[in-house]
Symmetry: D2
Subunit: 186 residues, 4 copies
């Protein structure tokens, strides 16, 4: 059990190699928390970028960018992604395929007629706030809030879980994404 | 990429060992989908049991059982569980500690004064319906619906993600649990 | 701790899915012992094939086949393989690169002038005998004897450890291979 | 594919957390190369200590220490360790049980009558020299030379593979240990 509090400040780690070997090749398929946090930040940046591309160049350009983002950041090429977006409804709640994810982000797919394009909703800011990170080794999961600010300054907060795996090339990919609006007691 | 459709029917797997060795010791820390599904069923059974214990023997008995369930089924002893229950609110949305989980299930903890005990709400049936399972190796995540039926026959459905790890003793433990009510478009 | 004795007999596993879902997508990056044993058998078959190709078609053909085998069965494309072949000497004991592995199996590389081609030594039979298998999840290691029989019927036995990882495509790849002649007390 | 050359010099890593959260709990079951190298150093130190305890206090004291070392550093409690010591012979080449490991290190067990106690051979220095490290995530393997210097100053070098897993408490444990004398061409 290694538990640490990850402070949002810079830390300086002093790593002293004890081995005699002057050079050992290291292949590292583990994920560390910095990589997980950077992947979250990349997701947020991509969302903002898709929105600004949409505002500047229209839906087709936004869609082209979203495809690139999905192919680069999600793990659909491994077989499936466990994706429950914030605003989907039955019977299309879950988007385990690339097409379902794309439609959720930019809409315009008649197979998912209720999607209006989450990434096109004027987001100007996207800020993850982690409450916990669990690194299983070659996979990692994070849980926390994500705060989205739109062009009117209105903030929407969701509860979000992300799961990451490392592909053969050493890149993190999202294999799990569960997002939900905060519970509103009546 | 190994993708399979897991049909809800029995399958017969024929495993023929090719090795010469008449006996090799096998230590297996991987998780398979049967184990993940059994862990979901065990969670559901535990929920029903806590409720019936509550109805029969009161809150203290229900709490004692819930403690046993949490200690047996969750991974709090590994440091933290990423737990976002269905009905929690800010600033206590997340229950990364054992105390927070216990309070959510059976209430009665002044530190979590808004908890009314999710496991005490008269549940008679609890049915997981998986849409996807991703086995990372020594960890696994599942996503799908869970349908809860109360004593009046009313069904509540939630979107649920579970993550499982195997402890040193080879037992599955929940290290991730994100539950949310279905999105209701206005 | 899940320990089992893996008997060299066929076993019938009855897997009954308990989930309601009629179809859940399963992505499985875990390794099981059958896959590990099949990978060992594939390695043995490849060795015999390289030798018979050599006897029939010469070194160039054997080398071409060995390249295919290495690219298909080892994990060099992930960065490095921890490979200590049976018969190598200082300062080229370890073959962490593809070129070093190829030279060990079929010789003919002036950069590894002491290599005579282990796969060209007339092997007719190759039989793994596992003593233990440890499955970490997405990786597995095996240890045991491997018995090689040459065309004269002479058997050479080595102590062998193999490590396997699963690539993004779900295929097992050797990331560890430590082979050594049995210790001969003086 | 993340490949790095691990130089035997101190490195300063600057890790800047990007998250908003001032505090996120991190549970980390991954292994890093520093931990692997420290575990190797701990193994070497333990070997030297067992020898000096033997010289000072006799075999019983050395055995008691060896038991402590094995229980603390190996993964026998997970079910088995894949252990091929340097100097063992058939049919007791492999020491997959704790008793077999203990006998190898300190001898004196009639069930393993050929063991003379590797740790009692006067070792004064033990130096790992890694050629490659492969981190699978929650497990890691290392390969290289280990140089043992005895009281007469004579150096014995072996080819050694170690595998490490992290237990529930976050401690590295050896689940694989393959050691062999260097190959001597005739």
């Amino acid at each position: 059990m290694k538990i640490r509090l990850l402070a949002a400040t810079a830390v300086v780690a002093f790593t002293s190699s004890l081995a005699i070997a002057s050079e050992a090749v290291v292949v590292n398929q583990a994920i560390n928390e910095t990589q997980a946090i950077e992947a979250q930040e990349a997701w947020c940046s991509a969302l903002i970028n898709i929105n600004s591309t949409y505002e500047k160049d229209g839906q087709a350009a936004a869609k082209a960018l979203a495809e690139k983002v999905i192919d680069g950041a999600y793990a659909y090429q491994m077989g499936a992604v466990l994706f429950k977006p914030t605003l989907t409804v039955n019977p299309q709640t879950f988007r385990t395929t690339r097409a379902g994810a794309l439609s959720y982000f930019v809409g315009g797919d008649p197979s998912f007629s209720k999607d209006t394009g989450f990434a096109l909703k004027g987001w100007k800011k996207c800020e993850p706030e982690n409450v916990a990170i669990f690194i299983d080794g070659n996979s990692a999961i994070t849980m926390g809030k994500v705060h989205f600010t739109d062009k009117a300054g209105k903030v929407t907060t969701v509860d979000k879980t992300w799961g990451f795996v490392k592909d053969d090339a050493g890149q993190l990919r999202i294999n799990l994404h569960h997002s939900s609006l905060e519970y509103q007691p009546k």
